[in-house]
Subunit: 103 residues, 4 copies
């Protein structure tokens, strides 16, 4: 199980509003074999293979360029573990149970 | 309004389970003037000033060291804008309204 | 031309020294069609296609796991542009010429 | 000893060329008690305290805004260790000595 988080920053758009570009990038990563969750700072991906994460990232980059943006910065965080299969929810729970009060 | 996301990776713990360390780091950033949201890949922070974000990050680093971890890697993403005051929820909504189907 | 930077953080090693793991990861990304430069905070990659960047990242992750590390965190920054072909050196020069004194 | 890497991505500039903004940000982080090194993907900082790293990051953000950019994304990586004092050069050497061929 691989978790990842992708953030895309289009460069050279005239506007500071990126919502449209990010929405189109998210739609393009909605591919077979990926679960995702949108957060205020990026989109979290879950998949059985890192290959799918790369496929999603490639789709996001291509989508931004296809929308006419000539430069895009991408930050991809990957959490790859071979000892455990944990869902996104279980990852948060594994932190939560140590919190004095709930998160 | 500043949004940020902090991820901490303790180095040299014997276990691959980081939940305890991350929970203690999160408790330490629960300071006056910061709202936060725990995700599977980090903790998202919202504050009126970048100063508070740094204060929270410093607290997280110190907490990890105080727990006996001698090395910690931190990834801090900051989204600083002067043209608009947007909450974490509004950021997600600004993406959401462009999605063909909801996120 | 795509530039990227990869940082790998093995989790659950008992030592805080990561030099050995990082060296082996770097050796594995030394593949056809990639130029790279080691820095104190990561390894910078240059390639004609983002596909090669993913291939290198996959190789680095697999190498760390093959060395017995069951969890690894990866931060991959990608700078993808379609309007210009710039080498790593030219990127630094494009900043340098605006500096009052050299970098 | 703390090492860090800062990358700034101005948003909503009409050009894809960021060299000018990055140069001005770098000049602003050239403060007492910080050593730095410009790379093709960011600027690496070394300091005796994490406080200086935050001071530099704040200066970079303020500089970008003062140049008229209303939104800026910052990625700050911090490597904080309490067990060892290592310079930027020594960090690269600690990887280098494990490489079959030089980096």
């Amino acid at each position: 199980m691989v978790h990842a988080e992708i953030s895309v920053y289009p460069v050279g758009t005239d506007s500071t509003s990126l919502g449209f570009y990010i929405a189109k990038a998210i739609e393009s990563i909605d591919i077979n074999g990926i679960s995702y969750q949108v957060t205020p700072m990026g989109t979290i991906l879950e998949s059985g293979s890192v290959e799918k994460i790369f496929e999603a990232t490639r789709a996001a980059i291509e989508t931004i360029h296809r929308l006419g943006v000539k430069r895009v910065e991408v930050i991809l965080k990957i959490d790859s573990r071979t000892d455990k299969t944990q869902s996104m929810q279980q990852k948060v729970q594994s932190v939560d149970r140590y919190l004095s009060k709930g998160a």
